[in-house]
Symmetry: C2
């Protein structure tokens, strides 16, 4: 079984909530990789018997690091309309004192979508100009190679290389561009796409070249692809771009987009990251 599918495994409990277990394969520094936590919250909605349609949007707020081991998720459809459904999702974990705490919250909208007039925004997708994998060479960032979750992604960095020297030289560049896919390759689905929205190095590392504690506090993703389009991507690489919008008083704002190799915008994302000083 793929580590990703292991991480998505949820067991229904009698009270309607779901029990999961943190994945050592996707461990970050003090808790699971934020992308895998987002994915398992979406998975809870995805496998809910009352789910209507496919994911349209999700916002995940990271309140407390999820502790190693078991956690519980409760996904509640609070309003169901003809073509949309609104969800509140709460993940509980056990803190260092042994108390049950709310570790993450999320809201999700699922929707039944019709085929309509469609178009892309005027920003030029960088897919056509990007060197195609596998001609490009994988680049492993030595600095973060000890983060276990990074081993679950093949990341080919085209722009936004981490500084070689962390001496605080400020740079005007804070855009990352990369190809990404699961290791080993795995057919794309909504939770996996969501998880990939968080693979970027925080832009502040490029902009500032200073190592300080950081971590995502909130992540919002909009889904533009349906299940058929995801199936068409299969286990191919996605092209991802991330760009810093602002860095102010402990919080950095990054915006990201993910395309299929043929230039279909699959998802847009934004996140606020805490940084220490």
């Amino acid at each position: 079984m793929h580590f990703f599918d292991e991480a998505m495994a949820l067991r229904p409990l009698d009270d309607g909530s779901l029990e999961g277990t943190t994945s050592p394969a996707y461990w970050n520094m003090v808790g699971p990789y934020g992308g895998i936590t987002a994915a398992v919250l979406l998975q809870a909605v995805w496998q809910h018997p009352q789910r209507l349609g496919e994911p349209l949007s999700i916002t995940i707020n990271y309140a407390v690091a999820v502790a190693e081991g078991r956690f519980r998720i409760r996904a509640t459809p609070v309003q169901t309309n003809r073509s949309t459904q609104h969800w509140i999702v709460v993940q509980e974990s056990t803190n260092a004192q042994g108390d049950t705490v709310v570790a993450t919250t999320a809201t999700v909208i699922t929707a039944v979508r019709r085929n309509t007039w469609s178009a892309s925004g005027s920003a030029v997708a960088p897919v056509a100009a990007a060197p195609q994998p596998p001609q490009t060479q994988p680049v492993m960032a030595a600095l973060f190679a000890d983060m276990q979750w990074r081993r679950q992604y093949e990341t080919i960095l085209l722009e936004g290389h981490l500084p070689l020297h962390w001496e605080g030289q400020e740079s005007a560049e804070d855009r990352s561009l990369l190809w990404v896919r699961d290791v080993p390759p795995r057919p794309l689905d909504f939770p996996a796409l969501l998880a990939m929205c968080d693979v970027f190095f925080p832009s502040i590392l490029l902009r500032r070249a200073t190592l300080a504690a950081f971590g995502t506090v909130t992540l919002t993703v909009y889904f533009h692809a349906d299940a058929t389009q995801l199936a068409a991507v299969g286990s191919d690489y996605l092209l991802g771009q991330s760009q810093g919008r602002e860095y102010r008083n402990n919080y950095a704002d990054d915006e990201a987009r993910l395309w299929s190799r043929d230039g279909v915008l699959l998802a847009t994302a934004s996140q606020m990251l805490y940084y220490k000083q």
Copy 2:
């Protein structure tokens, strides 16, 4: 009393929830202006006796049009840390059948922020190049002049004029740039800033030049300014930019930013809008 302050008035009920009343001044087509609904949900957090810090982020999901008249809001701090607090907010309204329904949900993060290294992203802020008000002339979009809420904003449109003919000619341009302030001018605060994040014409109207039913289903705003910076803006104009990212199968994705006249990025926003066909 300013119409905005009237719209923000919330009365505590015995069960800890808050009661408010929809504002005729901010009425849209079939319910309140989405920006005023977002603002009153944030207001519920803002005036909560247990609130820690200032707003950092908010996501509002619009499930059902809020009915004219009274509504209830319950703002719950589900996790409080040393410097951040995580909220779930639910607004209930009465539907056409007389039933109480969840009209909107929101998650909010409030935070105590310290003065740290700060910088802007590499995207050039359009403030310096924009014609300054009041040299520019107010432009009222005749098409939407009958939306009551538009009368509560002075909007000076610099780019992104609505089509003169709605004949479905597609345009490559879908960026709006405008100055905005309350009518009459009112000192800026967090709820007012949030409300202004939703004043833009949906980019799809510019891109497509077709009139079809539309409405915001989810809005996320990140706050970069603190109360002191908002106070420094006072009742001056803000410069707002909105840009379409994607239009696909019933849903359009717009990204927006608001600056003070001296170029401080106050907030970034993204939203998904439903469009009919």
